[in-house]
């Protein structure tokens, strides 16, 4: 059986990431990872009439870049797994409508990036697909409008707030050999430690990342030393030290190998409060920088833990707490023949 321990899937078959594609907005393009992105826009509208269309354009661009790099036609994709942050996952649904391919829509807030990838790999493992495409997107302005205030509203945000990444990342996976293999995935549980502040997602999500990472280690009998990098999705400057300290309490010291995509994507002097967030954050950093570093041999085995705050403004206004989740996927480098 491919299930190991409580929550971990160890893929028995060899499943590989064949190609990736990324598209980002202006602030991400000015960030330190700029040269790792395929398509960059210097304006938040991405040449579209409204924010929702802009986000859709980003998702289309990342898929196009991914398929172009793979040198393959979209018609060969057996299933698309996609997610975004908007109500009814409109970005994914409308992009899938244009693609006209079998489509599974997924929502795990910002954890969708690894949720789609882990599920896609499981479908390939089970023989239900030969080629699967996992893609997610987020857009700063669509997220602001849906979860917070109008984009141009002059409300002051606290330093604990995060900044939704404008970007989309896509990955094409199959059994066709490449240098990046998907080794395992740990499916998270919904955690709720009583967070109520929508302007501090980092501390709300840290327990979810902690639970998933701890369970992953115990399921596989591994230690932090087995990884060259553990990257969380968007814990930001607030959640990152909390996660490290939580793991330390259990005897897992990850300080040396842990980083957060939300901290990697922007320069510290960019106006992004405590860091980047959104499913685009973990997706563009993983599918851009991290997997290319893995391919280049900088890493041998990395784990990406995409963290998601399952936040609904209505629930928050009804005085409910914010549940969170984190899904992890392990990538290993394999020598190509």
């Amino acid at each position: 059986m491919a299930k190991i321990g409580k929550q971990t899937w160890l893929y028995n078959q060899q499943i590989y990431v064949n190609s990736t594609g990324t598209a980002v907005g202006p602030l991400e393009a000015q960030g330190p990872l700029s040269n790792t992105f395929d398509k960059k826009y210097d304006e938040l509208h991405c040449n579209q009439d409204n924010w929702e269309l802009a986000e859709r354009q980003l998702m289309k661009d990342s898929i196009d870049a991914c398929m172009q790099r793979a040198g393959k036609d979209k018609s060969g994709i057996d299933v698309i797994l996609a997610g975004d942050l908007l109500n009814q996952n409109v970005t994914s649904n409308y992009v899938a409508k244009e693609l006209g391919l079998p489509f599974l829509c997924m929502f795990g807030a910002c954890s969708s990036s690894m949720e789609t990838l882990a599920t896609g790999a499981a479908l390939i493992e089970g023989g239900f697909a030969a080629q699967a495409l996992a893609v997610v997107s987020s857009h700063n302005a669509t997220a602001e409008r849906q979860f917070r205030y109008p984009t141009e509203y002059g409300g002051q945000k606290p330093k604990t707030a995060t900044f939704t990444v404008t970007g989309s990342g896509a990955a094409l996976i199959s059994k066709e050999k490449s240098s990046i293999r998907i080794e395992a995935a740990t499916i998270g549980r919904v955690m709720d430690y009583g967070a109520t502040d929508p302007f501090d997602m980092g501390s709300a999500m840290a327990p979810a990342a902690y639970d998933t990472i701890k369970t992953h280690f115990s399921d596989l009998g591994r230690m932090p030393g087995d990884y060259d990098l553990i990257a969380t999705g968007d814990l930001s400057g607030v959640g990152t030290p909390i996660l490290r300290d939580m793991l330390k309490e259990d005897g897992y010291d990850v300080d040396e190998i842990h980083n957060d995509c939300g901290l990697m994507i922007y320069h510290s002097d960019q106006p992004v409060f405590s860091g980047g967030s959104g499913c685009g954050c973990s997706a563009v950093v993983t599918y851009g920088k991290l997997l290319s570093d893995l391919e280049d041999g900088i890493y041998k085995r990395i784990m990406v833990v995409a963290t998601g705050a399952l936040m609904s403004p209505t629930m928050v206004q009804q005085k409910e707490t914010i549940p969170t989740i984190a899904h992890a996927v392990v990538f290993v480098r394999e020598e190509e023949e």
């Binding site: 409008r145 141009e152 430690y193 501090d200 309490e249």
Partner: protein
Amino acid sequence: MSDKFDQKQYQNTIKTYQPKPNYLANCIKAFIVGGLICVIGEALTDFYMKVFDFSEKEAGNPTVTTLILIAALMTGFGVYDKLGQFAGAGSAVPVTGFANSITSAALEHKSEGLVLGVATNLFKLAGSVIVFGVVAAYILGMLRYALQHMF
């Protein structure tokens, strides 16, 4: 695992991880920006009194209108939200903040059409200000009326 990160303790524990807002700096920034907006308002009143020979009372309405226009334009050009992040209450409390809340909602919902988009959402943020403004005015008005007739 110790009690520190226990589910019940968690919300207390994380307070040490959250960056503290600098209340003093925020107050000073709000004072300066809010004060500057008022200075501009005073200058506008003087301008209308001198140039158009308005009385001080008459100059009030064009002053407010001009401030609203400036704030609406700044919102459209994408400047007011940056000012708001810097100044906090300094740019939120004056009439310009009210104008920003309406203009930003109008811009945001423009893509949904003029009636159900702009018109319906125009007072999305400002609506509560109006509701409580009207309620407070009503209560104070009744109190004033009652007091006047009692004494």
